[in-house]
């Protein structure tokens, strides 16, 4: 037995003991010569690491809370051989080493982020349409009484819907008394045109283009994809203080990505071609709200912020105009005026600012 001194707490009281270690069987016994104190036999395999730093080492016992054994400097080889080694970064990381583990985590993190961005497009079509419908209905309800209804206006909107959406892919198309140049597609195939957009448009053809675009989002279930993506990201990034945010604003600002927008434009052009409506006005509309007269009109053009406007998109609509086709306006003049007047002349409609969302 060497005279190597260790310090010891037995976990029952705070009295510090200055002990010698005597090996015995598969373990050891601690003895304090000055007081004649002797500890219980301890098995080497019960030791755990409490802390290893510089020249200070401290060990604990698996089953006795507060039991501690420690020393300064190097332990004699016959003791050191039995001591457990400590964790450094955590058990999994120690197994691989810091840099390999960091590499593995980086790859895994990249896969998770990529998955969170890509998976929704795969999952969305698997969500039963009936669930999505119920969800959209629960969300919208009567939109706080903000939907505009006049007999003539409703007829005009129905006429416009019948031409752009003859297959009734959208479950509902409505006009809301909100002075923003915007149109949204909500879950459950519901399209809402905002009155601001109708007022801003110079003709029914322009509204038809926007409606066709939103119909594209309905057909491809982009809203569901966006919702799942948002939910997925908030869960993945939940560690970074996940905040689900304002739901409505979330839906309004859902951006579906370049690919989805382009596909929706394709649907708009197809539907307009099928209905014999000229895409020229839509191109002009993009031109007008997107560009030159910056700062003149009310700049609350939200449709733009969620639908980044590129010259390319405008050109695509312009190029879809077929010179030899004879186009018919989306609505006749009377219908168009009825649609534009719908919100202003509906006495029952709730004001946008009337109550909080």
């Amino acid at each position: 037995m060497s005279d190597f001194r260790l310090w010891h707490y037995d976990g029952a009281s705070a009295v510090r003991r200055n002990v010698l270690l005597r090996t015995a069987g598969t373990g050891f016994v601690l003895e304090e010569p000055e007081s004649g104190w002797t500890g219980l036999p301890i098995d080497w395999s019960d030791l755990t690491v409490i802390g290893l730093q510089d020249d200070r080492s401290a060990y604990g016992h698996k089953a006795i809370p507060g039991w501690r054994l420690g020393f300064s400097g190097e332990a004699p080889p016959d003791i050191a051989a039995h001591l457990p080694t400590g964790e450094r970064y955590g058990r999994w990381i120690d197994r691989f080493g810091l840099w390999p583990a960091a590499g593995i985590f980086t790859v895994a993190a990249a896969l998770i982020v990529w998955g969170a961005l890509e998976a929704p497009a795969v999952i969305a079509p698997l969500v039963p349409q009936s669930w999505e419908n119920r969800m959209g209905d629960a969300m919208v309800g009567d939109f706080g009484g903000r939907f505009c209804h006049t007999p003539a206006g409703d007829a005009a909107l129905e006429r416009l819907a019948a031409r752009i959406d003859p297959g009734h892919e959208a479950r509902d198309i409505s006009l809301a008394n909100i002075p923003m140049v915007n149109a949204v597609t909500l879950p459950g195939g519901r399209i809402i045109l905002f009155d601001g957009l109708v007022q801003q448009a110079k003709s029914a053809d322009e509204v038809a283009g926007v409606l066709g675009h939103e119909l594209g989002h309905v057909r491809h279930r982009d809203t569901m994809t966006g919702l799942i993506r948002q939910l997925g990201l908030s869960v993945v990034l939940g560690g970074a203080g996940g905040n689900a945010g304002n739901y409505l604003n979330g839906v309004l600002s859902l951006s579906y990505g370049r690919g989805a927008e382009s596909a929706a434009d394709g649907v708009a052009i197809d539907q307009m071609r099928g209905a014999g409506i000229s895409p020229a006005a839509t191109a002009a509309f993009f031109d007008r709200i997107g560009g030159k007269d910056e700062g003149t009109e009310a700049r609350a053009i939200s449709w733009l912020s969620s639908h980044p406007l590129s010259a390319e998109r405008r050109r695509r609509f312009a190029a879809a105009v077929e010179p030899e086709t004879s186009y018919r306006p989306a609505l006749d003049q009377a219908q168009w005026q009825a649609l534009r007047a719908s919100c202003a002349s509906d006495p029952k409609v709730a004001k946008f600012w009337g109550k909080p969302f």
Binding site: Y9, D10, A12, S13, V15, A58, A102, A138, A240
Partner: protein, 358 residues
């Protein structure tokens, strides 16, 4: 030898930032590549270093908390509180959209009250968790109280504190501090906390005086700046603008400084009232020390484009320990093991909501 008499300085911090740097930088790296999940283990590594380099009287502290228990606590909070709130939020939006504004308001109010309660509960349990994972001489701290009652106290005392134009805030803060610490123990001994809010009150009153002083002083300054400038409206204008800028700066800086001065005083008084059997605790940091701490923080973060923030926890702990003091006598043979309960797999639900514990 079982008795320790302690002079003024029972606490000392014996680490240095060069030893801590490898921990801080690898923590940062691993936290980034795991999308933040490693931060529970990072916290544990940091605390283990900080505690192990903190000497209390004759021996160092030990931190035995684990990253896994923090992580599990986080998952439990996410499942039991995060998800219901997510649904509540979506539900409230849907209700508003459908015109049931009143119902939504009630739901939102209920959510607010619940969160308010949880903050108090979490604060209590964070302190309890930290004490139960802090060891010295093989003995740990803890509490047998679950903190549910404290959550209620937190609600009504905070509410009362904000009555009378907030004049009762020092009372509510100190009273909550005392209530929290009186339920904690180390080994077999209970902490006794009898902090007095009275001495902190003068500084708190400055909050009320400063705006008045500033309005009077600022008004005078603007008037003075305008008065001699008879040579033109331009210089009078410049004087007024200068006056307004100086006023706004003084206002915010002044309020910040007063808040700091109040907090310095509050923390001194609070720790001064704290004792554990024969030991009396002290805290020596003056307002000036707190100002240097924060100026140092700002300089550290700015000069390193933010990376220095990984050393903030280290700096704050060092500040806390170096200004802590303890006097009195402790008998190590009477300091026996704590019999307080700790949950089998680490901790209860809210220990993970690790809000500032002290």
């Amino acid at each position: 030898m079982d008795q320790e008499r302690i002079g003024g300085d029972g606490f000392a911090f014996e680490g240095n930032w060069r030893d801590y740097a490898p921990i801080a930088f690898t923590n940062l790296l691993l936290t980034i590549v795991t999308l933040g999940i490693y931060r529970f283990w990072a916290t544990t590594r940091t605390r283990r270093y900080l505690w192990a380099n903190t000497r209390f009287i004759d021996d160092r502290l030990e931190w035995t908390g684990t990253g896994k228990e923090l992580f599990l606590g986080f998952l439990m909070v996410l499942a039991l509180i995060g998800l219901p709130f997510l649904f509540l939020q979506f539900g409230a939006q849907a209700l508003v959209l459908q015109g049931h504004g009143g119902m939504a308001a009630i739901l939102t109010l209920a959510a607010f009250v619940t969160i308010f309660y949880m903050v108090g509960l979490a604060r209590f349990r964070a302190l309890r968790y930290r004490l139960s994972r802090t060891w010295w001489h093989g003995i740990r701290g803890g509490s047998d109280d679950q903190g549910f009652g404290y959550g209620i106290s937190y609600m009504w005392k905070s509410a009362v504190g904000s009555l009378a134009l907030g004049l009762l805030v020092p009372w509510s803060m100190m009273s909550l501090w005392n209530e929290r610490w009186n339920k904690m123990s180390f080994g077999p001994h209970s902490f006794e906390s009898a902090g007095d809010h009275g001495p902190t009150f003068r500084r708190f009153l400055l909050f009320y005086l400063l705006p008045i002083l500033l309005f009077v002083g600022g008004g005078a300054m603007v008037a003075m700046a305008g008065f001699p400038g008879q040579d033109g409206a331009g210089s009078r204008m410049a004087g007024a603008i200068f006056g307004i800028i100086a006023f706004v700066l003084t206002f915010y800086l002044g309020l910040g400084l007063i808040a700091l001065a109040f907090y310095a005083s509050f923390f001194r008084e609070a720790v001064e009232g704290l004792s554990l059997t024969g030991l009396d605790f002290h805290f020596y940091a003056r307002t000036k020390d707190w100002i240097w701490l924060f100026l140092g923080d700002i300089a550290l973060v700015l000069c390193t484009i933010g990376i220095g923030s990984i050393f903030l926890q280290y700096r704050h702990w060092k500040f806390f320990v170096t200004h802590m003091g303890v006097t009195g006598t402790i008998y190590t043979d009477e300091l026996t093991q704590s019999q307080t309960k700790t949950s089998r797999h680490g901790e209860g639900l809210l220990d993970a909501l690790d809000v500032g514990a002290f």
